[in-house]
Symmetry: D2
Subunit: 301 residues, 4 copies
């Protein structure tokens, strides 16, 4: 059975995301930004659906804004809005911004090792129309999930990762990814990615860690959790940086466990948390709800 | 021991709420509102700390906005901002708005019957500086909590409520309340308030209901929950309207229970949920985070 | 791609469930039951792994007990334990009991209409070895999920259900099910099953209802939840009885929602809760953790 | 206003705890324990209300059992049960056990520094009849909470703790506590207690730590949580051992926080979690639901 990913797409919000755009602004706070942005959008007859703005210190701190608006017709008008915003925000306020039509699906590569629970969660959500992304490819260092992935009509690439030198594997990853994806998701990929790779690939990387960070950093978190006797276990989705398990946290959740559960039980219970935490993190990322700042995230959820 | 409520006040956010104001706007959505409001605030050199805006339908739906900003000096400037906003919003956009300095504490009357858990939660939070309100008085149909209330330096008024005719009691309530309070909280007050009272008193009334509404409407919700065998019990804070247990819901929460718990156990478990749900609802109300619309609430939490 | 369900089975607890048995006892409480049961198990050299016992009233109420034990060799010994227990419990105490080797997988039929989220959750959990059941068949009144089901190597039977008279469809259901299954799961099956069917099929039926019962009984619970403006939405797994949405509740959970979410959003958020609540309910059922009593459940979770 | 703690006691379960006893058994697992214990209780006409038993490995692991039963008349009979159990469990099975009438309230000393939220939670719960303990005294290194404590009719002792040498203060603590208490609760007591004190005082000590251990060990956990950008903050109740923040965990919980919350906000949000986690841990301890084993706890909740 092969079902291509396009067949079941159901628009996920009303009014249709076909006509919506997001505007993300981030930079040094200065008076007048809201008025200036509002004026640009108003001039182009954009209807603001929602707007969230946050300043971490109104006296010279950082400014974060997410605006969702509709525009008719989107395509032509969006370029004009962008030109206008560039003038106002970059010149007058020295602020960065990104503008994107929500109908332009982000292209995602999923990395996975042997565990399939996070991978399948994403494949099914995407197929059901709940996760509006294009899954461009799945890359793995093990062949175990190849059949499952291909049954969804998605390319699967096996890139073995033997030995401590990852440079050959990462070179192959870069050949496959460059120009093809907007986001990489490590869906229980049990390999460390190098700083060089992160810089060269040039797109955000989201990882799901199987503990409530910063507790139980590194390998074997469920065994460590059992050893310490914690009463909750968790999972953490974060952006990947050169510092292992130290990147900006996007989302976390926990589930209650008891003394009677073995390490294998904790893994199973944790797998459910990992699935939902990773899915929420990706959902927020593709809806442009997350702004990175230092080693933190601002999430307009 | 009598501790007056002012003694321990600790400002609850940074920068100090002394200098912050909230602006709430609600009405029919029209293009250009954000730009117009932004322009007014910019003109008065207000620094926007946070802004949340939501439209339930960008094609002619309703518009909701909450803005927090700082202004220097607050007192003088706020009147000028208000005059300007009145011109722009009421004349040009036909929108309602309210503007308030966060340092102007809301005056609250708490109604209670015999159960003291919600009352004490509020008294202690207020004394600890976590709930920036002035508790003007506590009114009860029973004398049970008088000593506790007065030990906090707060007036306690006993207004018995015998028989089906509540008009004498409600007349006494109005004499005590009129002009003196900005909010009434029914903290497990086991009497029905009449539509006449709601209209005449003229300030919002928040009630805590001891179930996850709309399940278990009316009296004895914990007994009903036990009878039905539910696995979660909850509490609901809502604005009071003439329709009992049908007013706009502000906040809800639940806690897990088991087959082994008696009705008395459910009451105790539920009491903890009632305390925290009511405290959150009041916190959001006094921070002007809630906008009522029809029988719903928009909560910018 | 067709993967038979046996291929990936991983034993789910330690020590291996191959060697474990469960004993469920339910009836009128009388002194001495624990001692008598303990004596029987001790006589057969059973090692008790866990034992939970609950009495809803020690003065003549009902007695509920779940015991998990290991036995070597299981197969031969279990018959002797059963004979002994029958003598002690049925003759001396007039108690019902069931005894089962945990390695004897329960045979399950899944009923589904068009929504596939609950169905797929169960298929994947079973395949991953997390849900030790045999999925004997999937029955649907719509062809939509046929390909998915068959890709797991599981028979799919289409039994259309046109018109108000369900007797022909139910007769077909009985032909397929009788003698073949130990449990029926309604995984978002949007048809009412008759009292006659429930009686004749003779095995437990678990349904997932898309609301926090008893709130929003009947059709369209998410639309009703939106209309009422609740801040949490939920799902309820329950045993099916003749009274629609009134059967004994097994498990419930909720998720927080906001004013900004549409009915379609609530459906998507609720689908995640439905999946996890149904999976937990089935897990507890197959591990013999649930005892029905009147319209309630005792769950030793 | 001074209300003695006895005035409002309301029995917290049905049937009345006046007539209930708990039996805790812990030791090396051996076949036949359940039968032997059941036989003793049966012989004395005890009615078992609930029984939970767990073995961490049926092949030679550890055995944990909690039994609640009623006995008439309790006082006389309990001594005979104890003698019988001592014979059977200590001689035949080499197992430790403790037997206690639930009506015998545990005597508790609360240690506190300046923060009053955990202290007041316990004082009010005890007064309301929700926490069946006797609060024998409150000991503090600061005078701040003296008036509050004494208004509940409970002795308050100020024992300053200046300088690095705690030996004088701990000697004073021992004079106050020895023979007078069954449990010590550190309700945000910001001093380290020495190994010598723990050994000499000879009763369990429960601490509430203001983080989700093992994350953010040591001082300033909320500042560390803000720095790391976590999305949940938590609290942990644990038994105190010589290793700071490393004792057996009893209970943990978390609450969701956002990017917009300051360290002061996190402290306030965390205080609510600390209150409820500490209250639950004490409740379980006084109901004999917790068995310590190595650095873990078995909690029959």
């Amino acid at each position: 059975m092969t079902i291509t990913q396009e067949t079941r797409y159901v628009p996920s919000t009303t009014p249709s995301t076909e006509e919506q755009a997001t505007l993300i602004i981030h930079g040094k706070d200065r008076p007048g930004i809201v008025a200036a942005v509002g004026a640009v959008l108003s001039r182009h007859n954009a209807n603001i659906v929602s707007l969230d703005q946050y300043s971490d210190n109104p006296e010279g701190g950082e400014f974060f804004q997410r605006t969702v608006f509709t525009l008719e017709p989107m395509k032509v008008a969006l370029e004009k809005v962008e030109a206008d915003l560039a003038q106002v925000l970059r010149s007058d306020f020295e602020l960065d911004f990104t503008l994107r039509a929500l109908s332009a699906l982000k292209r995602v590569a999923i990395f996975v090792s042997k565990s399939d629970h996070c991978l399948l969660e994403l494949l099914w959500r995407q197929r059901r129309g709940e996760l509006p992304i294009t899954i461009s490819m799945v890359i793995s260092n093990h062949p175990d999930t190849a059949d499952d992935v291909r049954s969804f009509g998605i390319p699967f690439f096996l890139v073995p990762s033997a030995g401590p030198d990852k440079s050959a594997a990462e070179a192959e990853h870069l050949r496959l990814l460059t120009g093809n994806v907007d986001l990489i998701v490590l869906a229980r990929y049990m390999q460390i990615v190098s700083g060089d790779f992160i810089r060269e690939v040039g797109v955000p990387i989201i990882n799901i860690h199987h503990s409530f960070l910063p507790a139980f950093i590194g390998a074997g978190p469920y065994a460590k959790a059992k050893e310490r006797g914690v009463k909750l276990i968790g999972a953490t989705a974060h952006y990947v940086t050169e510092d292992l398990d130290e990147g900006p946290i996007i989302e976390q959740d926990v589930v209650r466990v008891t003394h009677g559960e073995t390490v294998a039980d904790l893994q199973r219970r944790g797998a459910d948390v990992e699935r939902s935490v990773l899915a929420r993190a990706i959902q927020w990322h593709i809806e442009d709800r997350i702004i990175r700042t230092g080693n933190h995230t601002v999430v307009f959820s």
